[in-house]
């Protein structure tokens, strides 16, 4: 019966030498850069190191690890390193940056009001999804303010999508006004009606 052997002690994956982390993060192989990125937060100069590494890194998996390290730091400064990647021409980079910001809600929240006023509509649109991870009241207030001044229908739609989840009766008025501003956009009319139904009036 004992076909399954009594286990031997597991082969440990070798842990890298802490002194080499900085060097490995920039110059190592794919695996070394990944491992280094995962350990960088232990170092005092982690932020500038990760900033440089991110600007050079081309491998998606290693970029993920760098973003995770920045999310773990969870500071307004580490969020600021991620934000420029929301403007990337590469959709995969925008996605990775947005996912990282969502994993650090407190730090991302600091930048959110600015992002929702960004000159680039695509950035405002992505920023709406950051609001989703904030406490509902903060998210709704920021999104209602955005909708009141927003001229781009797609940005409004992104904000309405999140408001359908976070909104309260107080959001209904802004939603109603938005509908009258885009009479030519059937999708917005539909989104607004659905969001209002979801939020309800109770």
């Amino acid at each position: 019966m004992p076909l399954i052997r009594k286990p031997a002690s597991p082969p440990e994956t070798p842990a890298p030498d802490d002194r080499n982390i900085a060097e490995m993060l920039i110059e190592g192989s794919d695996d070394e850069r990944w491992t280094a990125a995962r350990r960088t937060t232990l170092l005092p100069e982690a932020l500038p190191l990760l900033t440089t590494a991110l600007s050079k890194e081309r491998i998606a998996r290693v970029r993920e690890a760098i973003f995770t390290a920045l999310a773990k730091m969870g500071s307004s400064e580490s969020a600021a390193v991620i934000i420029p990647y929301l403007r990337s021409d590469d959709a995969a980079q925008r996605t990775a940056a947005l996912d990282a910001l969502r994993a650090m809600p407190g730090a991302a929240a600091v930048h959110l009001p600015g992002l929702l006023k960004d000159a680039d509509a695509d950035v405002r649109l992505l920023a709406c999804e950051i609001a989703r991870v904030l406490p509902a009241d903060d998210a709704s207030r920021l999104l209602e303010e955005l909708i009141e001044r927003e001229l781009n229908p797609n940005v409004c739609a992104a904000a309405i999508e999140v408001l359908a989840e976070t909104g309260t009766a107080a959001s209904l008025k802004v939603l109603g006004q938005c509908a009258t501003r885009f009479p030519e956009e059937p999708f917005l009319a539909f989104a607004i009606k659905t969001a209002r139904d979801r939020i309800g009036s109770r």
């Binding site: 076909l3 286990p7 597991p10 994956t13 842990a15 990282a100 509902a136 989840e165």
Partner: protein
């Protein structure tokens, strides 16, 4: 709110959209009545005054309310041969794939994390002894880990009641357990000795790393309850705990699409499993 009240269709959809986004679980209209009753139970249990109040509480993820709600409408018990289609996939596909690069006598490592009170790692052991023709050709090492030392103690003891054994045939119970009394059975000593248990927090890299690398990891019904930061860290830990080309199986209501892009999606005999990519080296 009391439990005679109802929630509206729009409220149901609002909650269903939230859970779908967060966990990947789909709540269709056909299940509405059943799910609705469970939601109302949770509204009452959390002393929420209204659906809106409850929904805000759920979203804030205070006191693991997402987990409580999901537990309210899923069978949350762990028992032997639970999700046996995944065990079938393990013996018919995943191990076949893993041994292509191994030689007889090599080690195959399987990790059940979280293993709770041990039903899962012991099920894997029994299933392989019963259903994998090459079981004698390799050294199979099974490790069960959990964050909770109390469940680990129970797992190592290996004593189970009727309900835990309900999916096992009398022959299997006869073969792998001995009865302690009318209500309790203990896993045979040999089998207990062949599964190693260890305490591991999935989001602590210094605890996951010493477990080494595995061919297959079963990580069921835990990742989906983590927040976004913990999901990322746990996924990276699991990646490091897999050999290149190694597989990870989640619970049947879970999807890696809500957790991490690090793994490849694969399909084997109707089951979706995830894989650490092979290294691309010439």
């Amino acid at each position: 709110m009391d439990d005679t009240q109802q929630i509206t269709e729009d409220e149901f959809k609002r909650l269903a959209d939230f859970l779908y986004r967060r966990t990947g679980m789909v709540f269709t209209e056909t299940k509405r009545y059943y799910v609705e009753r469970r939601i109302i139970e949770r509204i009452v249990a959390t002393s929420s005054r209204s659906f809106a109040g409850y929904f805000a509480y759920l979203r804030s993820e205070t006191r693991n309310e997402v987990e409580h709600l999901i537990n309210a409408f899923t069978v949350n018990e762990t028992y032997f041969y639970r999700e046996d289609h995944q065990l079938a996939c393990l013996s018919s596909d995943l191990l076949k794939e893993r041994v292509t690069a191994k030689r007889p006598g090599d080690t195959i490592r399987i990790w059940s994390v979280p293993c709770s009170t041990g039903e899962e790692p012991y099920s894997i052991a029994i299933w392989l002894l019963e259903n994998w023709k090459d079981v004698d050709a390799y050294d199979i090492e099974i490790v069960g880990s959990d964050i909770d030392t109390r469940v680990l103690e129970a797992a190592a003891e290996g004593i189970f009641g009727k309900r835990a054994l309900m999916r096992l045939s009398p022959e299997l119970i006869e073969r792998y357990f001995h009865g302690l009394d009318d209500e309790r059975w203990q896993i045979l000593e040999d089998l207990r000795q062949s599964v190693r248990f260890s305490r591991v927090n999935l989001i602590e890299t210094k605890e996951t790393r010493p477990q080494g690398r595995f061919d297959v990891i079963f990580c069921r019904n835990v990742l989906i309850y983590f927040d976004d930061e913990s999901r990322r860290i746990a996924a990276e830990n699991l990646y490091d705990n897999l050999l290149p080309g190694g597989f990870i199986c989640l619970g049947h209501t879970e999807s890696m699409s809500r957790i991490s892009p690090l793994f490849e999606v694969c399909r084997y005999s109707g089951a979706i499993v995830y894989r650490r990519p092979q290294e691309l080296r010439a």
